[in-house]
């Protein structure tokens, strides 16, 4: 019995040392929202946010700098990510590879929002996860969830296409294929 307890304690020690990473200032940073919040994306039917002005988000990036998005004059794709969501975990490397291959159109900005940050959930903290994935896109830390709420997030991953005038063109949920991401980029650039 004592041996069993010893084995259990030893095994627990091993596991915790490999999974716990230190949270950084990024993981606690809150985003500020400028603009009227969008309604929550309905599960079916027309999206009431299309044609409305996209709220402008400002917050801390992974490297400690400040990010403000979307910026006027630039079509933007915003990707809301949760560190614990397996769909987001699979989407991130896909998008990174696509971006590394130079497939992101020159005139489109891609910005991520790290939201749904919960220390008790798996794959915490998001800073360690995104670093591990060599994530390069500007990323806004949204520890309070204010940015996600302002965009009417209904599920993860959450995608928003904003055109050069700062108007919401399309919102989508779920793991998108590269073709679908390219459609979203095209929708953001279409006049």
């Amino acid at each position: 019995m004592a041996a069993l307890v010893a084995v259990i304690v030893a095994m627990s020690g091993d596991d915790s040392s490999t999974t716990d990473a230190e949270a950084t200032a990024f993981d606690r940073a809150e985003a500020t929202v400028d603009g009227t919040p969008l309604p929550v994306l309905p599960e079916a039917g027309d999206d009431p946010a299309v044609g409305r002005a996209a709220p402008v988000l400002q917050g801390q990036d992974l490297d400690g700098g400040q990010v403000t998005q979307p910026t006027s004059g630039r079509p933007t794709i915003i990707l809301f990510l949760a560190h614990w969501c397996p769909h987001c975990q699979r989407e991130v490397p896909l998008v990174q590879e696509w971006s590394d291959a130079g497939q992101l159109p020159e005139d489109v900005d891609l910005v991520a929002v790290a939201t749904g940050i919960t220390s008790s959930r798996p794959n915490y903290p998001p800073s360690a996860w995104l670093e591990r994935e060599h994530w390069t896109a500007p990323t806004i830390a949204d520890a309070s969830g204010a940015a996600a709420e302002a965009y009417g997030l209904s599920a993860f991953p959450f995608w928003v296409a904003v055109d050069a005038q700062g108007t919401v063109v399309e919102r989508r949920t779920g793991e998108l294929s590269l073709a679908e991401i390219e459609e979203l980029a095209a929708a953001a650039t279409s006049p």
């Binding site: 259990i8 627990s12 915790s16 949760a82 397996p86 996600a148 599920a155 949920t173």
Partner: protein, 215 residues
């Protein structure tokens, strides 16, 4: 955080134990269909043992699963999702239903089988969803997603896998301990088994049952 790790490892150990016991019972049952008289005798002996104690073991499994489920949600803070709740709705009543079966209320036996069966089906779907998240909507619910894997040991032991192991072990115990037509009295009267029992008692018999055996 550390106590959570210890609890996960403890329940992982119990899960593996339940898996081995289930496979053991199924292996003996399978071998008994072969031409070996030893295997057949072993299966009959195992069935006699399980006819006496199988329901009690099943009740213990349901009780430990219920305790573990409550510990993970209330102490460790793992918020149960929609699928977790269905599995809970199957596991928690089993504590009462299996107690009734153990007390001799035979009509409760099919109820226990149905509950454990439903639980096993939902747990199987939940385990599959953990490995193939796209089976569901392809998205994660922001509040309590079913796709969230709270922990994973050895690449396959997760919370719904633990539930599945419990349900399958309970089903196996219930089926292996069901009264056979040739010995209708065995379940009700523990003493009658031992009087006509040519097999010596196994070493892991509980002290209380050996005391009952002395005339």
């Amino acid at each position: 955080m550390h106590s959570t790790d210890v609890a996960i490892t403890f329940f992982t150990f119990l899960t593996v134990l339940a898996n081995l016991a289930t496979l053991g019972i199924l292996a003996v049952a399978g071998l008994a269909r072969g031409p070996w008289p030893v295997a057949r005798r072993g299966w009959l002996r195992l069935r006699r043992e399980l006819a006496a104690d199988g329901v009690t073991i099943a009740w213990l499994v349901a009780t430990v699963c219920t305790g573990g489920s409550l510990w993970f949600s209330e102490v460790a803070g793992f918020v149960p999702c929609r699928l977790c709740w269905v599995q809970r709705a199957c596991m928690y009543p089993l504590v009462v239903v299996l107690a009734l079966v153990g007390l001799g209320w035979r009509r409760a036996r099919p109820v226990a089988l149905v509950l454990a069966g439903c639980g096993a089906v939902v747990a199987t779907y939940h385990v599959l969803l953990e490995h193939f998240p796209s089976l569901d909507s392809g998205t994660c619910d922001p509040a309590v997603p079913c796709t969230l894997v709270w922990f994973e040991r050895w690449g396959f032991i997760t919370l719904p896998y633990m539930a599945l192991s419990g349900f399958v072990f309970i089903i196996t115990l219930l089926l292996a301990s069901r009264p056979s037509p040739s010995s209708p009295r065995r379940l009700d009267d523990d003493n009658s088994i031992d009087e006509e029992d040519p097999v010596p008692p196994l070493p892991f018999r509980t002290p209380s049952s050996s005391r009952e055996r002395t005339p």
